[in-house]
Amino acid sequence: MKHTISVLVENQFGTFNRVVTMFSGKGFNVHSMSIGETESPEISRMTIVTEGDDKIIEQVVKQLNRLIDTIKVVDLSGSPKVERELALITVYYQKGNRADIISVSNIFRGNIVDINNKSITIEITGPPDKIEAAVNVLEGYGIKEMARSGTVALKRGEQVKADKKELQQNIQV
């Protein structure tokens, strides 16, 4: 089963490499790995999509925790989360099917970001399964090349029903 693991790490020289080395050294699978700064510049967030049975995922989380540069490791699978991925897909078009491609892009709420006389580049953002679906449809037209960002994810905030009084106060303000 696929798991999305969110890891806060020290934004330091070699940290990314440490995580990658651990994954390859232990023989763990990696589907995607993305890293970027967080709200505080000395901390980066890595989002790792990995696959394995429960025993392996338990080891992945423990081994990540064991690294000195990791601050917090959370397996987001099973908890409410927002997952997004960005893909840039360049598709060949022929006479007559350019509009079809653009309409596919529209269905997936994609943006056309580049076009020339042979191909058209679409930017699509969304959960990984949406990207998969878009790729699946666009493959029929002939994909020239594709770049995917890998998944980024955050836990959803806790849903608390707003207090009526509070609401009214807010309206008054």
């Binding site: 070699g14 080395t21 651990m22 080891q59 423990k62 064991r66 000195i68």
Partner: protein, 572 residues
Amino acid sequence: MKETKPVMSGAEIFFECLKREKVEIVFGYPGGATLKIYEKLYDVDFLEHILVRHEQGAAHMAEGYAKATGKVGVVLVTSGPGATNTVTGIADAYMDSVPIVVFTGQVPTHMIGNDAFQEADIVGITRPITKHNFLVRDINELASSIRKAFYIASTGRPGPVLVDLPKDVINSVCEFEYPEKVEMRGYKPNLLGHQNQIKKAAERIKKAKRPLLYVGGGVIMSGGNRELRLLAKENNLPVTMTLQGLGAFPMSDPQSLGMLGMHGTYWANQAVNNCDLLVSLGARFDDRVTGKIDAFATGAYKIHVDIDPTCIDKNVIVDLPIVGDVKHVLAELAAEISSPPKIDEWWEQIHKWQEECPLHYEKHDGKLRTEYILERLNEFTKGEAVIVTDVGQHQMWTSQYYKFNHPRSHLTSGGLGTMGFSVPAAIGAAFAIKDRPVISISGDGGFQMNMQELITAVYHKLPIKFIIINNSFLGMVRQWQELFHAEKYSFTDLSDSNPDFQKLGEAFGMKSFSTNRPEEVDSILEEMMQINDGPSLAEFRVEKEDMVFPIIPSGATIEEMMTKRLNPKEMI
């Protein structure tokens, strides 16, 4: 008024940090990238620098020193080849959780990546074999990096830490401030075990009918041998130890079942196989211990105490994990158990196994055998010596025949299985251990892997007893070739290619002995024990084709244990 901090050079900061960490000894080898440090070392009087002959030797010496004392072993080498030569030692320390800090020189920061002379990306190379490592790119980070390195190496599950020191960083200056406390968001070793878990474990021990303590090196590292003894003695529990755990519980005590696993005793392995409660203490269910995982202690409720959470459920799924320092957990467990379990029947069964298949070797054919030498050595030293073994048959025989009665007295390369470990590790240990004999035992193969360090022992007049068990074979490999590889003795026969070990010892300036007669063993050992102003060497030319028994073949179950060499007739 603001306090002014002293301005110091990188080299001065380096030594000031070592002083604050109470480092007494450094094993090293100078080179281009560390010249500035060695220049400063000339004036340093609070520590002893030991010049080795090969950087691998330095790493193993630091390991031997750390294993024998529990303190952090320190290595100082230059960049490039100096650094890469320590890699085997670092990997060894990583596998056996030995606290060492390795300082490597590095080319100046602006030349890193340029394929400069004697450049190697040692931080990249050692990332998977260190607990952590540092490339100090700014002199302002030097003191805090060294402080962290010692802290990380010695706390939690210990391990090697490498600090890479570029030449320009060492040459520059900055204000010196030594951080009193180490604060790392990502590293907080958990010391205390979970109270409820400990209570549950105590209940289990109280109710057990066939309990067994399975003790690993973690008990020795945490200094928990007294607590272990208390728990075992008060509750009359049988104790079996791993290779690294030997000495955690006195082996001459009748409650000790000796070592378990591939070459463990028959009764220890039977006990593991038949127990209803297995309490693992600072051990990691290594494949050499478990054999076939699916058949390992299948009927037992398993409790696992370890400070490293990654060890839990890694190889064997356990029923009750306790993450914490094993010394603390042992003390609390002992306090928690009010009434000892009733296990007289269990002990009867264990004694039956002990009689059924005792350790055995041929004593009456007049040939010299390793087992005999070890029995005599045990007799001479009363189990009080520090024995440093290499890797192979002699190592396994030592674990079977030498009765280790103290922790930190059996030093060996377990996890990595590094041939060439014994000679330098014994030297490292001998710098710290002065009140007990330090004895290095190697095979003829492994001895030749780091024998250049003999001169280090001779120069420093260390009274180490170097024993070479010479069977003119890479014995353990030969044993596997005979048992599992169609008797194809491919490249394991050294009969025609070994040096004259006695002359070799003499060339290094050691009193040296050589014999193949059992009746001469006592007199040689006795004479060696008298030599205390320097090392001595003895070559014992033993029976060439002996094998270590019992043996459970790799990945097999206890039913497949071989206890003696099969007679060809029996095989048909």
